[in-house]
Symmetry: C2
Subunit: 643 residues, 2 copies
């Protein structure tokens, strides 16, 4: 046995010799950022051994200096004796310092107002499917001694016209005491479903008909966001968001799926998203608003197909293996208590339907909120989160595909990449004369890394200022101390010198990072072209592009075109729409008609599997340039580069 | 603190001084028979203090000799220091030595055959509502990549015509791995419910269509009995029964209800019946038959209204308080997993509907199995268990009432009374010359008490031999050493001298016991007359009487008439039908038509609340004689007594 001590957490654990250090940290409940989930690929799980020794190999992610100081990758180190391990702050996967804007503070009710008008304009009813009724039951007597449940059913039948009333056992258990406490005057929360049928999901003492709440919840691979909404009128009551605690098991869906196949892995992933992420968010919103969890009686959830599986605790491994089969696309009826989600236990949890293994409920919900299912124009909807999904169509048809873009848009697989949290560099300009950058940092904080929108700016600016060529290679012999090449000849550009902010190391972008990002943007671009080719269409037929997803508010549309991620069409046709998945959940929460529309939209979406699409690989390879091998496709960039 | 040691169990427990000894025993998980639940009424919880002292009062249930030997009532003793307590074997509420015949070994399949013919004769289908189908799904490919659940639904729709297929989350969780293990050849267990709808409740690898099992379960206040049945054809596969472990919290429903109001009481009662009674029975049947619990996919349960509430974990206190309101009579849809019953977790648990607080599912199931709902003749159905319930009617009408008979028919509230288990005296003849009895003991064992049928025989024989008068008082100055009177002048008849079998005490019946029993039989008789009076009918209009319930197989119909429990009609019209509740469950299990009929029967039963019925009290008081104040109502007895 060996004693492992972690600083600065002051945690100690005894383990067997030979155990993997990343696993040991997990056992000690210290979560080290490991996007590649222990495959020695990302180099993020760098830790410092400050006492004792481990068995580790020097790796390309560890510099000579670092190696001498005791740095190792936790994922490729094994315990050989007592050690003290220091976890650098940038390696910690702590998520609670990360606040993602669900919908910006000032504008959400305006956005909700707009959504309401949109629903009404489309001839749909702005009315939730949950209903409250205050009922005064006849008091029982010896001559009218029917059972409590029959008494409730009789009242609902005679006074409100519901001739088939259902409830589940936990509700029945509540009935006898509550009726006596309330002197048979109660408020019944129920879900009518046509033909005189209804299901009781809550019973409260007295008249509580003025309080009816629901939650819209978007489960992203990286972050989770929620709104608590007054179901009368649809006003926002509270909002909250946080990182998805599953991140400690891997940054992207593939790594999560692989983790799920480990012993107890599925349970841990499910626990991480529900108990460690969603429930704290729900508690925070309840505290902020003074609403009791039992008053939340509707819950609409959207997530990609993997997130949907993990949320329900369903084994997802077949999603990643050809022929890529989900367990479900529309789940059956589920109660909150079955999942342990802290709203009213009888609440019906509605999950936005998925389309395929890599086009999930976040996309169908996003398409719903985009309104593209109701227009004549051709709309291209792109979700740029972890991976990227594309939908193209209008009220006549909807085609969709998934691009293997990986987590680069959210800072993954980039050496100094990070999520769009405090300390992330989100905007960058480079002086064309001296190659010095000007950066904007989220929270005006000391910079600690670069997020997706920052990387787009950086690559675009490096291209336009001539630091990199169109293959993404750094040009040699430029007159600046910001450019260096290592012993293997791999170049890097130093965005922030560590001395400027007293950082542990420089914030840089390497040719490897640039290459990774180019592959990500190429995946999106080639996805778009392949989808259009499949339909015999071209970019000129695109009337509108909506960009959604976790890439963040600071996304520079122009730069996204310039690096060749988006087609070179008029900027005014391209719009960033934020978290469209959450917005789709809100619409579904507030309008039963919208929920039916969501079902319809998801049924009508045709999935195109890019990997079997002829021409896709050629399109992808051609797009692995800045902006593209064929510059003629990007006249705007051609003009800028020729200056 | 004080140390309490229990022998012969060799259990020790430390408790606070002042604690009640009955409670202390429960804490130590030693369950002392306490039918009156600690109210010092029944005298059954007699224990012997063999070391140390308790604070206790001498009580009428403790003789001088017993008091000197250290006997006390546990329920009225408090701990004052370290003690060793001996639990006499007859005070132990251990139930596993008690085997109640569910359906006699040789004849059950004959009975089932008869039941099947009965169902078919009445034009009903002998077909359970659970169905198995073996399906070979198309293997998924890149071109046919719909989800697992959609694939199952597509097959059921296209091949079997089910266009709406439901399942619950735990089933969905099972699907992905099982499909791959089975190479997509699976057997689906489902519950079709008309209009192309069906609900999947189990999925198994390969073809298991030849195995389909269900359980019929009768939950009595005193004992629980079950049959495991092959749902193809209806043959018995295994049977088991045991005492209801709730007995440790009180012998009758009133004491159970009172216990449920204690802290954690409802949970303990629910746990006792499910975890300590039903699950061991199910495990025993599975072991006996080699059937896996997951193969049991149908469960039909009947119990009185209190048992039904406690089985579901529903607070029953309002059943015993005017105006006597049950929480439900027909419970909603319940899954086995919600209750923790060890059959397939997705099994739909069907509970026979109740009619009122004291006419439960055991009665509706019994009425179903009696067939009285389909005949022209007037049938009187009497259930003699703990309490007694009566139904009168035919295919035109069904009237029902409950009699406050208490637990006397099952040996309760009788000093030497016991359940119909091994050691119970079940048949008695008394020699009219010398007043000596001849007894038959269940199991041909050493006698240890008298069960319900024995008490009926005993009282009848004592009456006919002149030992007691028509008020139930023991005649003085008879020439026998079997009759004694105590210091208060209360007489007793010694049925078995302790010396004969080396018992701890004589087996006797006292005038108090006789009085208790007369009140019980009077409750039944007056219930019958009141019900008939209510309809303007009399005994001559009764074409048939069925006696059901726990009173036991040895019930002497003639003697039951002679003591004035049943009306004096031709013996040939009266028939003991055994556990009709279990039989009703079997029919419901085997025929969906029978289940619909059960619903219909329960809806059509009119409940008469005896306590508000004019004339009931007069009828009751008149019946508190042997056989009745008006001997003219019992010509048979009049003739015998005049001999």
């Amino acid at each position: 046995m060996a004693k492992i001590k972690f600083v600065p957490y002051n945690k100690e654990i005894e383990v067997q010799q030979g155990e993997n250090l990343l696993e040991v940290a997990r056992k000690a409940e210290i979560f080290i950022d490991a996007p590649c989930n222990g495959n020695s690929v990302c180099g993020k799980c760098k830790v410092k051994i400050i006492e004792g020794k481990v068995s580790a190999e020097k790796d390309r992610h560890i510099s000579d200096d670092e190696w001498n100081e005791g740095y190792v990758l936790a994922c490729s180190s094994s315990v050989i004796g007592d050690i003290t391990v220091e976890i650098p702050s940038n390696a910690s996967a702590s998520m609670h310092n990360m606040k993602i804007e669900a919908l910006s503070g000032e504008r959400e009710n305006k956005i909700f107002e707009k959504a309401k008008r949109q629903i009404l304009d489309k001839g749909m009813e702005f009315k939730t499917y949950v209903k409250k009724d205050y009922v005064k039951l006849d008091l029982p007597t010896l001559n009218d001694n029917i059972s409590d449940f029959e008494r409730i059913k009789r009242h609902l039948r005679n006074e409100l016209g519901y001739n088939q009333v259902f409830c589940r056992l936990p509700m029945l258990r509540k009935i006898p005491p509550i009726l006596r406490e309330a002197n048979f005057n109660i408020t019944i929360t129920h879900i009518p479903r046509g033909q005189g049928k209804t299901t009781i999901i809550n019973i409260e003492k007295g008249d509580t008909t003025n309080r009816l709440y629901g939650v819209a919840l978007d489960i992203g691979t990286t972050s989770v966001a929620a709104c608590l909404v007054d179901l009368y009128g649809g006003k926002l009551v509270a909002k909250a968001s946080s990182g998805n605690a599953q991140i400690k098991y891997g940054a992207d869906v593939i790594n999560r799926i692989m983790y799920s196949t480990k012993k107890n892995g599925l349970h841990e992933l499910n626990h991480a998203v529900i108990q460690e992420t969603i429930n704290p968010i729900l508690r925070e919103m309840c505290e902020d608003s003074g609403i009791d969890r039992d008053e939340i009686v509707s819950l609409i959830v959207a997530g990609n197909t993997t997130m949907s599986h993990l949320f329900l605790g369903i084994y997802p491994d077949f999603l990643r293996m050809e022929p890529y089969i989900p367990a479900f696309v529309k789940p059956p009826f589920i109660k909150a208590s079955e999942l342990g989600v802290e709203v009213n236990p009888e609440t019906f949890v509605y999950l936005a339907p998925c389309v395929a293994s890599y086009v999930g409920g976040d996309i169908t919900a996003g398409v719903l909120s985009s309104g593209m299912w109701d227009v004549d124009e051709n709309v291209l909807f792109i979700d740029l989160g972890t991976n990227g999904e594309i939908v193209f169509g209008n009220k006549e048809f909807l085609m969709t595909c998934a691009c293997s873009a990986g987590p680069a848009f959210e800072g993954g697989e980039i050496s100094c990449g990070m999520r769009a949290a405090n300390g992330a560099i989100e905007k960058i300009n480079i002086d064309k004369e001296n190659y010095d950058p000007e950066v904007t940092v989220i929270g005006n904080d000391k910079p600690s890394g670069i997020c997706g929108s920052g990387i787009i700016d950086l690559i675009c600016e490096m291209m336009l200022s001539g630091i990199i060529d169109r293959k993404g290679k750094i040009v040699k012999n430029l007159n600046t101390n910001r450019i260096r090449f290592d012993e293997h000849g791999i170049g890097e550009y130093i965005l922030v010198f560590k001395e400027e902010y007293n950082l542990e190391k420089n914030i840089t972008i390497t040719e490897v990072d640039i290459d990774n990002f180019i592959r990500a943007k190429a995946a999106i671009y080639s996805g778009i072209t392949t989808l259009l080719n499949n339909l015999g269409m071209d970019f000129s037929m695109i009337d509108k592009i909506y960009i959604a997803g976790g890439i963040g508010n600071s996304l520079d549309i122009g730069n996204s075109v310039k690096i060749g991620m988006l087609p070179d069409i008029e900027s005014s046709k391209i719009e960033y729409v934020g978290n469209s998945s959450l917005m789709g959940c809100y619409l579904t929460l507030m309008s039963e008609d919208a929920r039916h529309k969501l079902e319809e939209v998801s049924n009508s979406m045709t999935y195109v599997e890019l990997s079997v699409e002829p021409g896709y690989m050629d399109e992808f390879v051609s797009a692995c340039f800045l902006p593209h091998t064929d510059i003629e496709k990007f006249p705007t960039v051609k003009e800028l580069l020729s200056k």
